[in-house]
Amino acid sequence: MQDSELRKTPLYEEHKKLGAKLVPFSGYSMPMKYEHGILKEHQQVRNSVGLFDISHMGEIEIRGDDTEKFLQLIMTNDLNLLYDGKAQYACICYQNGTVVDDCFYYRINKQLYKIIVNASNRKKDLNWFDKHKEGLSINILDKSNNRGRFALQGPNAEHTLNPLTPYDLSKLERFHFIETKIKKMSAFIARTGYTGEDGFEISVKTEDAKNVWNLILQAGQEYSILPIGLGARDTLRLEASYSLYGHELSDKITPIEAGIGFCVKEKNIDYIGNSVLLDQKRNGTSRKIVGVELIDRGIIREKCAVYNKDDDPKEIGIITSGTFSPTFKKSIGLAMLRRKFTGIGTEILIEIHNKKRKGKVVKTPFYPYKGRKKK
């Protein structure tokens, strides 16, 4: 794709002013990193606070009397656990249990939900929704291009944002959201994130995006706030062991295999994929995604082959994501391995640059969530 065909988020000009290295991502020109680089940005989020532009993500509203009926049919998680102001993570699955997309949805009320989906899957999701809305009284509204979205993440996220809102954010629990204002501009603020830290995800009108972005950067100055690019977003999420579509989740992988069975529920109705998924949840799967770390030197990267022993030429799995962990100063990754090799401590060989290097299976998350605990 030519750069000229890439879409720009409402913050494109701000990124340029901030010295961002812009790269094509899901059809958008997005900041990979800013002037301080990925390591500094990563540490800033772990130690204080950072601000991410996530305007590229899809934002879809479902309205109407059958909204919950519709979502119960296509989502793996159970909407009966929700109430107004509460958010939930789920997968959208095919009949065979593999994944169309993973998403967060927010119950504004029983007839109105907001869903945040992966940028790269937005069109596929909308087609999937259309295919399954037949006979249901719902409206599907794609709001993706009418909003600016940010993530404000880190232990000082609340201190940064609270002075800008009339609502006292210290009262907002994890996985809850509030429709309030940032200064005079209406804002949707959820206490969610993708980093392993406390923080918020914020959605505002496109015309307010630049203003809100700069207000937050200004408010965060006393905490040395930095804008954070996709590079650190990936190292942060990988340390926190969150799945990323296209890596740990795909149309070849089920959520049970991906190790996120917590979002697959037995519900009082049949939903798409439920027979395969519930069977897998009860009886296990022949392969599973686990955390791995490298003992030898090197950096684990996506698609590296994994072996059991030097003299056994048969692959036991593949790396789905890998990086150098800025927090632990070693290479970590996630790997899809045959069940037999998934026990914590199992020694494995990871092929990097044509050489098999020693590694082992470790517990995930590498970096346990450090923010506020759920009520």
Binding site: G19, K21, M32, K33, G37, I38, L39, K40, G231, T235, R297, G298, I299, R301, T323, F324, P326, S331, I352, H353, N354, K355
Partner: protein
């Protein structure tokens, strides 16, 4: 010489020669490394494993395999700018790979050679700057 590439001011010492693969060659010290431009493009270098290059006989233009100079999001391919054999590697980079970012022409050197002859097509600083500006 200094040159502004993109929005960064980068340094290209006039006493060095440069390859289009972004390696520099210091004929006095018989040393090779990556240029300021290369390190700025790569970003934070987090791993540098050169051990397997020791003793290698290289021809100018060879991709030096089995070594790793890796940034958080990118792997650097290192090509030899000279003909010769690798006499020593910079072992300090194993613990402090960030020296390549901080001081690419000094403490961030990669290899030293024995009796090497440079490739015919190495560029001087001004020609290299012109080349990277054209990229």
């Amino acid at each position: 010489m200094k040159a502004t590439i993109g929005d960064k001011e980068l340094n290209f010492p006039d006493n060095l020669k440069y390859s289009k693969q972004h390696q520099w060659w210091d004929a006095d010290k018989k040393a090779v490394g990556i240029t300021d431009y290369a390190q700025s493009q790569l970003g934070d270098i987090v791993m540098c494993d050169l051990v397997d290059a020791e003793g290698l006989e290289l021809s100018a233009g060879d991709l030096i395999e089995d070594i790793a100079v890796e940034a958080q999001k990118a792997v650097a391919d290192i090509y030899s700018p000279v003909n010769g054999s690798v006499a020593s590697i910079n072992q300090d980079l194993e613990d402090e790979p960030e020296k390549i970012n901080e001081d690419p022409y000094g403490e961030g050197w990669l290899f030293k050679f024995d009796g090497a002859t440079p490739a015919d097509d190495l560029l001087d600083a001004a020609a290299y700057v012109e080349y990277i500006k054209s990229l």
